[in-house]
């Protein structure tokens, strides 16, 4: 229990530090949102019009200390204000409309990549030097080292354009009304295949290699030898003795990855026109949209911290040593 409380205290501190950085960093960037918006659309405006826009969007600026405390209280009440690059849509609405798709795509591909990668890693390490162990890691690392953009474009070209078996864009067929029915769910799933597959392909190698390497180390432990000497079935030794212990680093990196999913998959969104927060985040940074940036970074921070906390909880379950530490 005291372990969990200590962790919780640490998370609160980390949260405060990150929201403060979140406040400071955008304000250190040169320029201001209105001129950025103009340069993006390459419009010319009268000086009075620029002033009017600044007032309208509330980017006049003020003393930084009161602004900081105002920001803190707004963060705690969940009010992020209005997005500037999407003015006057509230930040929470911008994020809420895109986050579900980001989460769907991110979680699906992460779960597939983790399960497949770890299974392959376990098998490869168990039959060290076997066929799987000598073919899969180099192949997957080779695929993983392709530029993602290129791989995604290639997959889209082959499956979408040439063979016509996969949808080419968006999260579901245009014109379909979202609803909880079989037609819609299947359509969403079909649209998810290519984007998720490409992400799984490039990340699979990392998961597999990580698992394989820790598993090899675990396999040479004395207790594995002991288990074999006791005559336990190899299957049981592999999963319950070796894999369970080798999995700890994998769980940690999975926690990190869950957190970062919230940041969106920018390149996937660009290639497959998948609606998500990645492109929006890029736009927010380029457009110096402080409120939206703050809202998104905060969501990412919160997601990373929560995911890590959950991993801590799982650790307690997986690794008895932590409970005493």
């Amino acid at each position: 229990m005291s372990f969990l409380l200590r962790r919780l205290g640490f998370y609160l501190l980390a949260f405060w530090a990150s929201i403060t950085l979140n406040f400071l960093l955008p304000r250190l960037m040169p320029g201001d949102p209105v001129t950025r918006m103009l340069s993006r659309s390459q419009q010319r405006l009268e000086p009075q019009q620029v002033e009017a826009l600044r007032t309208l969007m509330g980017v006049d600026g003020g003393p930084i200390i009161p602004e900081y405390f105002g920001y803190l209280s707004r963060v705690l009440t969940g009010d992020f204000g209005m997005s500037i690059s999407r003015f006057p849509t509230p930040v929470s609405e911008v994020i809420a409309s895109q986050l579900p798709w980001t989460l769907l795509l991110g979680l699906t591909s992460l779960i597939f990549a983790v399960i497949l990668g770890n299974l392959l890693g376990i098998l490869a390490a168990w039959r060290r030097g076997g066929f799987l162990d000598s073919v899969a890691p180099p192949l997957l690392v080779f695929i993983g080292s392709f530029p993602y953009f290129w791989l995604a474009m290639g997959a889209l070209y082959i499956f979408g354009i040439n063979m016509g078996v996969a949808p080419m864009r968006h999260a579901f067929s245009v014109g379909l009304v979202p609803g909880f029915n079989l037609e819609f769910i299947l359509d969403v799933a079909a649209h998810l295949v290519l984007p998720a597959l490409t992400i799984v392909l490039v990340s699979l190698g990392g998961w597999m290699l990580g698992m394989r390497n820790t598993m090899i180390a675990t396999n040479s432990e004395d207790y594995i030898l002991m288990a074999e000497a006791k005559g336990l079935r190899p299957h049981r030794i592999m999963l319950n003795y070796a894999a369970r212990n080798a999995m700890l680093p994998s769980v940690t990196s999975m926690g990190m990855s869950i957190g970062f999913i919230v940041g969106g998959a920018l390149l996937t969104e660009v290639v497959f026109a998948y609606p998500g927060v990645g492109y929006q985040l890029l736009g927010a940074v380029q457009g110096l949209d402080y409120p939206l940036m703050q809202g998104m970074f905060l969501t990412i921070t919160a997601a990373v911290l929560i995911a890590n906390f959950l991993v801590d909880l799982v650790y307690v379950r997986l690794d008895p040593r932590v409970r005493k530490g």
Binding site: T35, S39, P47, A52, L53, G175, L197, P275, Q286
Partner: protein, 558 residues
């Protein structure tokens, strides 16, 4: 499992296609454009348009918002008149006629009878008054306005502080919102206006998603005989690639995304239906020289640099031959009818002339040294940067060509290409050497010459300005510009613009490069009646005031 999904998806696509074919053969004309819209059978009736610059859409139909959803100012809200840069004509729209006061200090519009908003309320002069007031309050501008009088329900009169003729197009193209709704908003600037009520042809928002939305017919439109398409469907794309892919695979009807080599990538896939038209009515693109720097304050240097540029090569290589080289009036295709042939005939500094450039540089004191390099009077090499935003790949190659051209006259120029935001920031404060820049595009050349030669927006280096980045002004041009805004009839305006052109040609305030093209491509597979070179009733832009002209001209094919 994946394969199973794929197979099902394939079946679903086939089913939709069958349904679509059935719809095509039967009920297209009667389909109201899908307020239901979910069964796939309505697909054929929608005019589908991609937006490559919006990864996702937000439900914001506030015409006073700089980030309103696409089509807000095109198909939902309309203006009193529409200026068509492709044909150079002005189309009366919500107003039937207008007249300026004798002294040029007032302007009256007569509204079209029988126009109703999409909730059935009639359009009155009060709506116009409120719209102009809201625009002024929220977004600024209209500083010349003294008062607005609504004489009766269909007549509105604007009074100005001083004569200002360009007001016709500014006021005339103001989108009109209904006063009975907008006067009730506490903070109209912060209103998202999710259920817009406007006078336009397609106002009914349906099936709004982050990736797409649809606009259905306005039930009270004033020209019901022109609502021949079932509705509009907008698609969101995070970048050119996705949008171009959709266009190439025939999933959209109308696109204006930049496509390299459009003939072979797009048109040749279906030459019978697919077409493109790039009239050079876009803004003039200039190479501006910071005239606060000593070397660029000399007109001989500016002209010499201009003569060093090979505009043919710039247009051909840099702009994929989509643009037209500029002449010494600096007027783009949009302003063709204002061009004075007497000035054009004497153009001598906008065609490539390396010898002439060298001579002018010699005269200005930038002599060649032993290594063939031009040096300043102080004996230092004459070098400078050419700024351009890194994302504009076409302009970047333009800048590189200019840098190459300059080597022929012994000048070393370096292309500096950070992010656009950084480039614009340096333009605004005047802390740049030279740079590629866009210009104003308005119905008359007034704004264009004001921005390039007028003293109104010239600020000292270090102070922000949003116009006249190169900080050049001329007393005589100021006088002409003031005369122009007071000039009542077009003949007089034309004479003044002739003088302005001559002045521009004499002073070379910037180096004009080329007139930018207005992109646009379409397919006649589903809809016909597009503007073309032979029938330039609008440009092919789907985000301009003329867009509504296209929307009300299209008809289903067959």
């Amino acid at each position: 499992m994946i394969i199973k999904y794929l197979r099902r998806a394939h079946l679903a696509v086939a089913a939709t296609a069958v349904a679509g074919t059935l719809a095509l053969s039967g009920c297209v004309a009667s389909n109201p454009g899908g307020t239901e819209g979910g069964d796939g059978s309505a697909n054929a009736a929608f005019l589908t348009i991609p937006r490559e610059d919006m990864g996702t859409f937000s439900k914001n139909f506030n015409p006073f918002s700089p980030n309103a959803a696409p089509m807000t100012g095109q198909s939902i809200y309309e203006s009193m008149l529409v200026y068509n840069p492709a044909g150079g004509d002005t189309v009366p729209w919500l107003a039937t006629e207008w007249s300026a006061g004798k002294d040029g200090k007032s302007l009256a519009f007569n509204l079209r009878p029988g126009v109703r908003f999409s909730d059935g309320t009639p359009l009155t002069s009060k709506d116009v008054k409120l719209s102009v007031e809201l625009q002024k309050e929220l977004l600024g501008g209209y500083d010349y306005l003294k008062s607005i009088k609504t004489l009766d329900d269909s007549t509105i009169e604007f009074h100005f502080k001083q004569a200002f003729t360009p007001a016709l197009y500014e006021l005339g193209q103001q989108v009109i919102v209904p006063a009975h709704i907008w006067s009730k908003f506490d903070k109209p600037g912060n209103e998202e206006n999710p259920k817009p009520v406007g006078t336009g042809p397609y106002t009914e928002v349906a099936n709004f998603q982050a990736q797409s939305f649809e606009l259905g017919k306005n039930p009270y439109y004033w020209q019901p005989e022109k609502q021949n398409i079932g509705g509009i469907r907008m698609l969101a794309f995070a970048g050119n690639d996705g949008a171009n892919l959709a266009a190439i695979s025939g999933d959209v009807d109308w696109t204006q995304t930049y496509m390299p080599d459009i003939q072979s990538t797009y048109v040749d896939k279906d030459p019978e239906h697919r077409h493109f038209w790039f009239p050079t009515t876009g803004a003039e693109i200039n190479w501006q020289l910071n005239t606060t720097k000593k070397e660029f304050s000399d007109v001989r240097v500016r002209k010499a640099l201009s003569m060093a540029v090979d505009r043919e090569q710039v247009v051909k290589v840099g702009m994929s031959d989509y643009a037209k080289p500029a002449d010494c009036t600096g007027l783009s295709g949009n302003y063709d009818k204002w061009r004075d042939t007497a000035v054009v005939e004497q153009c001598d500094w906008t065609t490539r002339d390396v010898e002439g450039a060298k001579k002018l540089l010699d005269e200005a004191g930038f002599k060649e040294n032993a290594q063939g390099q031009r040096t300043t009077a102080a004996g230092k090499p004459f070098t400078f940067d050419i700024s351009v935003g890194s994302t504009s790949s076409d302009w970047l190659s333009v800048a590189n060509i200019i840098a190459q051209n300059l080597q022929d006259v012994g000048i070393k120029a370096t292309v500096d290409s950070p992010d656009w935001a950084a480039v614009t920031a340096s333009y605004e404060t005047g802390e740049f050497d030279t740079g590629i820049v866009w210009t104003a595009n308005a119905p008359t050349p007034y704004q264009y010459y004001l921005n390039l030669m007028g003293s109104q927006n010239v600020k000292p280096v270090g102070k922000q300005t949003f116009d006249n980045y190169h900080r050049f002004s001329d007393k005589k041009a100021d006088e002409l510009l003031n005369k122009f805004v007071a000039a009542g009839d077009e003949g007089e305006q034309k004479q003044i613009v002739n003088d302005l052109q001559a002045r521009y040609s004499e002073l070379a305030p910037v180096v004009p490069l080329f007139a930018g093209p207005e992109w646009g491509a379409y397919t006649t597979e589903n809809f016909v009646g597009w503007p073309t070179e032979d029938n330039p009733y609008a440009t092919l832009s789907n985000r301009a005031p003329t867009t509504v002209l296209v929307l009300t001209s299209l008809e289903p094919a067959n």
